[in-house]
């Protein structure tokens, strides 16, 4: 097993600031916009972006929810390991809001497909955008692309992209793991 660093801590921070600025450019005061972190790994990125937008750019009351997609996945009873659910926490209405899905890695696009179905249980958003820290090119199974990306990566199927966060893994970094 070998590790290759794709982004170190400084590079992660630069990417986060850029993504926050891009969000602000398009959503201004976030009055009609909500951020949705996709469980389980998208919530760290979502929390960081909310923090940056509120503290560095002094925009108040950015709404953030967590969406769990386990029960909406299309690989129930197809994957080898059982699917473990996580908490969904959306304590606001998404009806007529602009929704930004936030996840750490975009790979096949199937998680986002599930999230598109899942979010409908909470109302009909006026539009939905997608933000990912890492966009793995050439690996999509579905016609889904990010609106905001931290870094585009070419990786073959046997390789895995691992995003680490200080609050969960002890450091901010992105690795390419070869098995």
């Amino acid at each position: 097993m070998s590790h290759k660093v794709l982004l170190n801590a400084t590079e992660v921070h630069i990417a986060l600031h850029r993504l926050a600025c891009q969000l602000i450019e398009n959503h201004d005061t976030f009055e009609n916009t909500v951020l949705i972190g996709i469980q389980p790994r998208g919530i760290f990125l979502a929390e960081r972006l909310k923090q940056l937008i509120e503290q560095e750019y002094k925009i108040k009351n950015v709404l953030l929810g967590y969406l769990d997609i386990t029960f909406y996945r299309d690989d129930f009873r197809r994957s080898d390991k059982p699917l473990e659910a996580n908490t969904t926490k959306i304590d606001f209405i998404v009806e007529d809001k602009k929704v930004v899905f936030i996840d750490d890695v975009l790979y096949t696009g199937r998680s986002i497909r599930s999230a598109l179905t899942a979010i409908q249980s909470f109302g009909r958003p006026s539009e939905i955008e997608l933000l990912t820290l890492i966009d793995r090119r050439f690996s999509r199974h579905l016609p889904i692309q990010p609106d905001y990306r931290g870094r585009q990566v070419d990786a073959i199927n046997e390789e895995k992209v691992k995003v680490c966060w200080t609050e969960n893994d002890g450091e901010d970094a992105v690795y390419l793991v070869k098995s």
Partner: protein, 312 residues
């Protein structure tokens, strides 16, 4: 994590504490789902479930059916009153006929104890016991313990008394197993005639004085007086039963603490429990019903995830 150790839910006796905790954790997520504006998830869209009720039931059948529909499963219902069982068909024949229509799971209530276990040895589908005679009613016990956990934070270390007709009650037996696996202390209370001999061997204590039992407990689970199962006179009159073992406001208020009151339903108001208690804030009877749907969704979801997928 995160798989059940069994392929069928035949009784609490056959599952582990870890299984129960996994069902509770999964039910937490489904409880959130059924409180959304749109209460449905597509998880079981390729699963067909047959509800086979060889004995009458309203609430359990509705609860299972709702749980199945919330999970997007296809559902067929069967009740013995209008079926070929009346014409003398055997249980295995009846079920095999239904399974040949490509059914993946069976939810069954049957008057004979062990019917689920028997069936599981002869057919392929995953089986959920929805009550077999006076034996077990596992989903009821799970939702009872889940409701205690929700109300009191944890089941471990709590004192729970089950009051009433222990002899004919599948709810009592499943509850005893479930509560003990989760670390609660269990007492049964009722007329001697309605308490099975040797029940102490299950590790429960017996109390025939309701007031003493209430003073000891954190939770009182009041069972229904099952008049339809009373083939002989187990107590002189209903009035005498109510005086000795019925729960009323005066008895509750004479305690120096507030206990939680449960009832598996349907209630005989004025017999085992008075209306003012059943409708009070101490009673969690309607929470039990709501939790029943979430628990049954969790059980069906976890069992379905163990079914081999038909690639043909």
């Amino acid at each position: 994590m995160s798989e059940l150790s069994v392929n069928h839910l035949l009784g609490i006796k056959y599952i582990t504490e870890r299984d129960i905790q996994l069902i509770f954790e999964t039910a937490d997520h489904f409880k959130e789902v059924i409180n959304r504006p749109i209460k449905k998830v597509p998880s079981l869209r390729d699963i067909t479930i047959a509800n086979l009720f060889f004995e009458n039931s309203t609430r359990t059948r509705l609860s299972f059916e709702l749980a199945e529909k919330r999970l997007s499963a296809d559902v067929i219902n069967f009740s013995a009153a209008s079926s070929s069982v009346k014409k003398g068909e055997t249980l295995i024949d009846t079920v095999n006929n239904i399974l040949s229509m490509k059914v993946d799971m069976v939810v069954m209530r049957h008057p004979n104890p062990g019917a689920g276990v028997f069936l599981s040895k002869h057919i392929d589908a995953s089986i959920v016991n929805a009550g077999d005679g006076a034996h077990e009613h596992p989903t009821q016990a799970l939702l009872d313990c889940y409701s205690i956990r929700e109300k009191l934070g944890d089941v471990a270390g709590k004192n729970v008394v089950i009051v009433g007709d222990i002899l004919h009650s599948r709810v009592a037996l499943s509850n005893i197993f479930a509560l003990q696996k989760l670390g609660a202390d269990v007492k049964v209370c009722g007329p001697r005639t309605l308490i099975p001999k040797h029940i102490e061997k299950l590790g429960v204590s017996v109390e025939t004085n309701l007031m003493k039992a209430l003073e000891w407990c954190d939770v009182a689970n009041m069972l229904r007086v099952q008049n339809e199962r009373m083939d002989i006179s187990y107590f002189p009159t209903t009035r005498e039963y109510t005086q000795q073992f019925g729960l009323n406001k005066a008895k509750l208020e004479s305690l120096d603490k507030e206990i939680v009151v449960m009832h598996p339903g349907p209630i005989n108001r004025g017999v085992e429990i008075t209306s003012d208690v059943a409708d009070s804030g101490q009673a969690i009877i309607l929470d039990q019903v709501q939790n029943g749907v979430a628990i049954r969704m969790a059980v069906l979801y976890l069992l379905a995830s163990k079914i081999e997928r038909d690639e043909g």
